[in-house]
């Protein structure tokens, strides 16, 4: 590192440029390190605050979700029962309606009654539909909130690793060492836990983007 900088210079400031750069790095690294540490602390605090709020309202959301599910279940039972009843009535009445001896007035009356019951079932189903939708929607959004909270942990881990590496570089500069870049990178990569860290390290990722969550489970 030190030698590389010196050999690249060709004017009279060959000896002072590396020293100035070393001084610059030594001065900047602790400042960057403090900014990173503060950013990490603030991101942790932000999540802690949100979690505190969520822990207060969470039980109410869970209760609303459960009640919505209960209403859903309570509605599903009579709807299923009435639908079955309509089907049974239709089956029983089908031969009556097909009977040529049954008067047109009687057949029309039967059809009219069946139609009223079918309509009532339709109304019940319409009442139930929003509850089904609400139950699914609340459950999905609660899941998303829980998942969102977890990104702070990833951010924190990534920042902590950078902070540590900056301190290590600062110490190397203070000691006047010129560590081997390849070995340094190997040591850095060995500390990665997340897939995107490896991708960022190698520069393989086409775009810088947040992980959408591996969301994988392996049972042994």
């Amino acid at each position: 590192m030190h030698n590389g900088i010196a050999s690249a210079s060709s004017d009279g400031q060959v000896s002072s440029a590396p020293q100035a750069l070393l001084g610059l790095c030594a001065g900047l690294l602790p400042v960057w390190g403090r900014h990173l540490a503060t950013s990490r602390a603030q991101s942790e605090l932000a999540v802690t605050e949100m979690l505190q709020a969520f822990s207060d309202i969470g039980p109410h959301i869970n209760m609303a979700e459960r009640q919505s599910q209960q209403i859903n279940d309570a509605l599903a039972q009579p709807i299923g029962g009435v639908t079955g009843l309509v089907g049974a009535c239709e089956q029983v009445l089908a031969p009556v309606l097909a009977d040529a001896n049954v008067s047109t007035t009687t057949a029309a009356a039967i059809e009219h009654v069946l139609e009223m019951v079918r309509h009532a079932v339709g109304v019940l189903e319409q009442v139930a539909r929003p509850f089904q939708h609400e139950t699914q929607m609340v459950a999905a959004q609660v899941d998303r909130m829980y998942m969102g909270f977890q990104y702070q942990d990833r951010i924190s881990q990534m920042m902590a690793l950078l902070e540590g590496d900056m301190v290590k570089l600062q110490e190397a500069l203070s000691a006047g060492e010129a560590p081997d870049l390849a070995a340094w990178l190997v040591q850095l990569e060995a500390q990665y836990a997340m897939r995107e860290q490896h991708e960022d390290h190698s520069g393989l990722a086409e775009n810088v983007c947040a992980s959408d969550g591996d969301n994988e489970t392996t049972f042994f």
Partner: protein, 121 residues
Amino acid sequence: MAKTILVIDDSASLRQVVKMALTGAGYSVLEAGDGQAALALLDGRQINMAICDVNMPIMNGIEFVKAAKQLAAYKFLPILMLTTESQEEKKEQGKAAGAKDWMVKPFSPTQLVSAVSKLCA
């Protein structure tokens, strides 16, 4: 009586997220910030399952699983590893140590509760 799950993670916010997901599903939760603190918490307690991070200070998750499996009372304790680590090599270490499941964060609470109910059954 509610089943008790021991949640081990050095991130307090992660522990809280797991706790909220589990208590919402009717489980009781105990918390520890690292493997050593978790071992101290076991102490003969009735624990139905443990959910453990991998990268933690003092005692990491793999070391905890190995240590817990050495204790007669917890030899068959189901342990789910909940971690940002998704590398196969690490998973193999978890499996070899005695973990029953490996779940990568961020997790879906529905998925976690489903895995917990399966392992606690």
